[in-house]
């Protein structure tokens, strides 16, 4: 019975870890093309979830709310690229760090003013009564998170491998100057990566919302974990973030069981520190070769 409980905890935790993985994947997408990430991504997750909640309030069916919320995420992603990142990249400065943080803060204020400070439940038609699989209780809600995450990551990877635009995306990641010489606009590709990043982040918000409730601070902890996962896995391995996400989710769940829920956030931070000390390029990251 005891081992079963451990497995149970690990599985529930791992399924939550998929959300970290998806947000981390969003970081990878923009980092690949532009070597920049949106430090306000947590606010993007939160705003998309709140927007989706408003869509639900208007009576829109769930299957329309999901794409609606994701579309909103794309718009936010494009806005961040246009209003923050591009200005800095054009001047070859690192100003995108501060600019994306500022945009995130603005988003946070906007959320507090528009939707209020309270956490609210996020209704979903997906049932939360557990079903038994191999002796473990899993709720369809948790499963929907895993399926949603894997589906959207699979689709983006398919896009990158099978379409010419996707290959162009990879080309910009590999060598931006050479890609430009092929007629591929780096600016447009970076824009695309921010749109996609917004899309996956919004989906992460929508998937996790029924479990965590929705409010302006819903993503502040989530985003820290996603950072940890992205850094520990390495900023160029989509496969890596899923594994590390699952691992961290399970680890957190077990930590809070053994040490108390107050220690829940510790494993992510410890992993982050360890990764930065031992493998700065990430467990699955390629060592970056600098030509001199």
């Amino acid at each position: 019975m005891y081992t079963l409980l451990i497995v149970q905890l690990a599985v529930s935790g791992a399924l939550m870890g998929m959300v970290y993985a998806l947000i981390a994947y969003g970081f990878q997408l923009t980092f690949a093309t532009s070597k920049s990430i949106n430090f306000g991504q947590g606010e993007l997750v939160m705003l998309s979830a709140l927007f989706s909640l408003t869509l639900i309030d208007t009576g829109l069916p769930y299957w329309l709310v999901v794409p609606g919320g994701m579309l909103f995420g794309v718009v936010l992603g494009l806005f961040v690229e246009r209003a923050g990142v591009r200005l800095a990249l054009e001047q070859k400065s690192e100003g995108w760090i501060l600019l994306t943080i500022i945009l995130g803060l603005l988003g946070f204020s906007a959320a507090e003013n528009i939707w209020g400070r309270d956490d609210r439940p996020f209704p979903t038609p997906i049932p939360s009564d557990p079903v038994h699989i191999f002796g473990i209780d899993v709720t369809p809600l948790e499963l929907s998170v895993a399926i949603g995450v894997l589906a959207v990551m699979g689709l983006v990877e398919l896009f990158k491998r099978k379409t010419l635009l996707g290959k162009a995306f990879e080309a910009v990641s590999a060598d931006r100057d050479a890609a430009q010489l092929m007629g591929i606009s780096a600016t447009r590709t970076i824009q695309l990566s921010y749109g996609l990043s917004g899309l996956v982040a919004a989906l992460a918000g929508i998937l996790v919302a029924p479990i965590t409730t929705v409010g302006p601070t819903m993503a502040s902890v989530l985003i820290l974990k996603a950072f940890s996962v992205a850094v520990v896995a390495g900023l160029d391995s989509g496969f890596g973030v899923v594994l590390i996400g699952l691992f961290l989710g399970a680890l957190e769940s077990l930590t809070s069981f053994y040490l108390g829920s107050g220690w829940r956030e510790a494993p992510g931070l410890v992993l982050l520190i360890l990764a930065l000390a031992v493998r700065p390029n990430g467990v699955f990251g390629k060592a970056s070769i600098r030509k001199v």
Partner: protein
Amino acid sequence: MLTIDNLHAGYGTSEVLVGVSLEVKAGSVVALIGANGAGKTTTMRAISGMLRPNEGRVLLDGKPVQQFDASRIARLGLAHSPEGRKVFGPLTVEDNLLLGAFGRLPRFFGFRTRAAADLAGVYELFPRLQERRLQAAGTLSGGEQQMLAIGRALMAKPKVMLLDEPSMGLAPVIVQEVFNTIRRLKEAGITLLLVEQFAKSALEVADYAYVMDRGRIAIEGTPAHLAEDERVLAAYLG
């Protein structure tokens, strides 16, 4: 086909090019030679838009392009195979080639069928690339990467091709192969601007040549004419 008029360009405050003018006529091979640091590669970069010129004009097929972004100049029909080859290492050989034709292929689906004939043409020119078509480009040898870089530029069906130091870092046998390839490109009627350190070999294939010195064109003429010029002889053809 390509006219450069009084081009000034540089990095930061230091100006490398101080008024370069040259012309590449349709169907001709033009060689650009000169000592290290004379500004050959900078000229190429300023033409293709990798570096925005401070002054002067670049006319591609009569159209001024000097203020355009590199990707836009490429889509207008200029293929620049840069110094150091710059193939997309993690991508397969075939993907590299397909991306060469990015400007004229459908973005999502059906690009393979559309590019099939041109791909076959490149594979005919470089059978080695076909053997390795599914291999990551980064795993190819230097010579093969150079073939890939040329093939990738050919895929664009460019009006003008810029070839920067195709023999750089290659073994003598492979260098010979590269020049054979350039000869075949010439026979195929490709308009080519070639930067080369092997001035002698470059002059053998070129229809016309420019010699650069300290950011400007010092001497120009047909290879036969240059080969008699004592300054060229002394400096480059030894």
